[in-house]
């Protein structure tokens, strides 16, 4: 399949597809970071994670509309406001869901899966009733449009670049929060040994609620970033949920670094193969390889040794 292309062409194909893969990588990482926190740290399977992301996307859409109509002069900075609002909206909803539903199900992980699937159906239909079944998009401010030409053949879109920088910043923040802050230490203590953490005076119920809210909030930010590279529909979130779960499991559920590494591998493999094969075959092959590796190495790439 490589024979039809000359060497410099091949290089630029890899570079372009690599960059296209990086946008997919950004979405995967942002969604998977939230999932890795919720699933890896709390053991809860949140099938509605995609819908939390879409909530962030719709929040961004509404904010953009507000800026456009009320203060068009400030449209250039709407995205940062929208990101913040998306985080708040998704985190609040997450907190509510945890309080109403998830906290009753911590000892039944398979049942959280079913319950959150039900939640995702309700949210999807709610989005459809409120925003309509058609996909909506935001218009990007001028400074986010266009692309940088690296060579004659390689062009890098600016919005993709911004999403990537955003991803790196958020990943770093999450790392600092989980491994360098007192609160992160509490979360990890609860994960490793719940009764002991309770015994030393950690309010595990509160830690659970905030952890869940944080994971959902990050999904909201992912949704905000998602609006920059694609349009949003009621079921857009569901398209990514299986891939994202595979990313988290493939990376090793308790390891944030593993999540990022596996998001990178999967997105790059998929995007590079997409150029040479049809899109669906690329996805089938990628998923098959991931499932195959998981069958051989169920603990994932970077397994954290946890005493069970």
């Amino acid at each position: 399949m490589f024979a039809d292309y000359s060497m410099p062409e091949l290089m630029s194909i890899f570079a372009m597809q690599g960059f296209a893969g990086l946008s997919l990588f950004s979405i995967f990482v942002l969604m998977a970071l939230g999932l890795a926190i919720i699933f890896g740290q709390m053991g809860v399977i949140n099938m509605a994670h995609g819908e939390f992301m879409i909530l962030g996307a719709y929040t961004t859409y509404l904010t953009a509309g507000l800026f456009e109509n009320v203060m068009p002069g400030l449209y250039g900075i709407y995205f940062f406001v929208a990101m913040f609002l998306a985080f708040i909206a998704s985190a609040l909803l997450g907190m509510l869901v945890e309080w109403l539903m998830i906290r009753h199900l911590y000892h039944r992980p398979l049942d959280t899966l079913l319950a959150t699937w039900g939640l995702s159906l309700i949210l999807q239909q709610a989005y459809r009733s409120i925003f309509g079944a058609r996909e909506v998009g935001v218009s990007l401010p001028d400074w986010m449009m266009g692309s940088i030409a690296v060579t004659d053949l390689v062009e890098i879109p600016i919005n993709g670049l911004i999403v990537m920088v955003l991803t790196l910043v958020i990943a770093t923040l999450v790392y600092l929060l989980m491994f360098r802050s007192g609160w992160g230490r509490q979360v990890r203590a609860v994960v490793q040994n719940r009764p002991m953490a309770e015994a030393v005076g950690i309010d595990t119920g509160k830690v659970d609620r905030i952890t869940f809210a944080l994971g959902c909030g990050i999904a909201g930010v992912a949704g905000a970033a998602f609006t920059m590279i694609g349009s949003t529909g009621p079921t857009s979130g569901q398209l990514y949920i299986v891939d994202t779960f595979l990313v988290v499991v493939f990376g090793g559920a308790q390891s944030l670094l593993g999540t990022i590494a596996s998001a990178f591998t999967i997105s790059q493999a998929q995007s590079t193969m997409e150029f040479f094969l049809s899109g669906s075959m690329a996805k089938v092959l990628t998923l098959l390889v991931v499932v195959g590796i998981l069958m051989l190495r169920p603990q994932g790439l970077f397994a954290l040794k946890v005493r069970r």
Binding site: F39, L110, D111, W117, L119, L121, L288, V291, M295
Partner: protein, 383 residues
Amino acid sequence: MKTTPSASSLMSRENLYFLVLAALLLLVFPVLLDAFRLNLVGKYLTYAFVAVGLVLCWGKGGILSLGQGVFFGLGGYCMAMFLKLEASSPEATASQSTPGIPDFMDWNQVTELPWFWQPFHSFSFTLIAVVMVPVILAFIIGVAMFKRRVGGVYFAIITQAIAAILTILIIGQQGFTGGANGITDLRTLMGWDIRSNEAKTVLYFVTSGLLLACVLLARHVLGSKLGRILVAMRDQEDRVRFSGYDVASFKVFVFCLAAALSGIGGALFTLQVGFMSPSFVGIVPSIEMVIFCAVGGRHSLLGAVYGALLVNAAKTGFSESFPELWLYAMGALFIAVVLAFPNGIAGLYQRYLMPLEKKMLGGLGKAANTRPTAAARRMEETP
């Protein structure tokens, strides 16, 4: 359980419930419903095969598979391939550029029947494939996962990914599988027109009969020592392993059995509905099948049948009159069944109706009857 004297009355009670279901399926529905509604019920019953399989592997074995749609679909596609080949005889497809191959292949510039379609000219091969293709796939997945002691949540996610893979593959390989439309326009089974109302009624009775047979088979499996090992494994896997049982093999067996049941259901579905498409294979239908089982009661074989019937009837009713409300209702059903009544209809029945029933029957064998139900309830309620 068989050795205690009171258990025999429980057994006869189970037999009674089974007879009620048989009467409902074989007498009440055919008498009360017109041909169209009866065909719909027949379609729902094919889902009940999957739900019965899920009771075995999820309710009793503790293995939640989110990929039952895969096995349902494989069974259905095997049957559809046979019917499609019969429908595309060289005479019937003479106007195509390559006569004798299915029409969608001709549209996609496929000029020769692919190798994996060839054996489906034979009806006996198809009947074997309907069961064996799902079983072989389930065996491979099961051996790979359970021998490495992967279970619970991970197993659920991986089976879900497999459902996604198969759907994308079927849609992507349009020339070989019919793509998103699926395999349509199926006409005859060995020269017998399956689209007529009489044929649909006959197929309904075949489906009901096979379903009742499968329920009996599943009951036999659960009543045996194997069934008790399954339940023990669900509750205390390590203890069963330390007692010297090969836990993985039991899990593989029950997973394969559930896959076989789903495959049979899928094949009957194709026969009754007249087509098969990837929309019955993917993630969404697979997880809906879990909810049929959960609503009926994940520990109860008969409950699963009622669950499949009720949820599907509700789905049809809602989508006919308030289509936009259906997803809300379905979502609420998922949440309610998990939070409020995890044992489903069967659990509610045991809890509220059975004591009432006993009161109405009076003191008849009162002392002997209350104890086993209390014990049974305790057994049912352990997660």
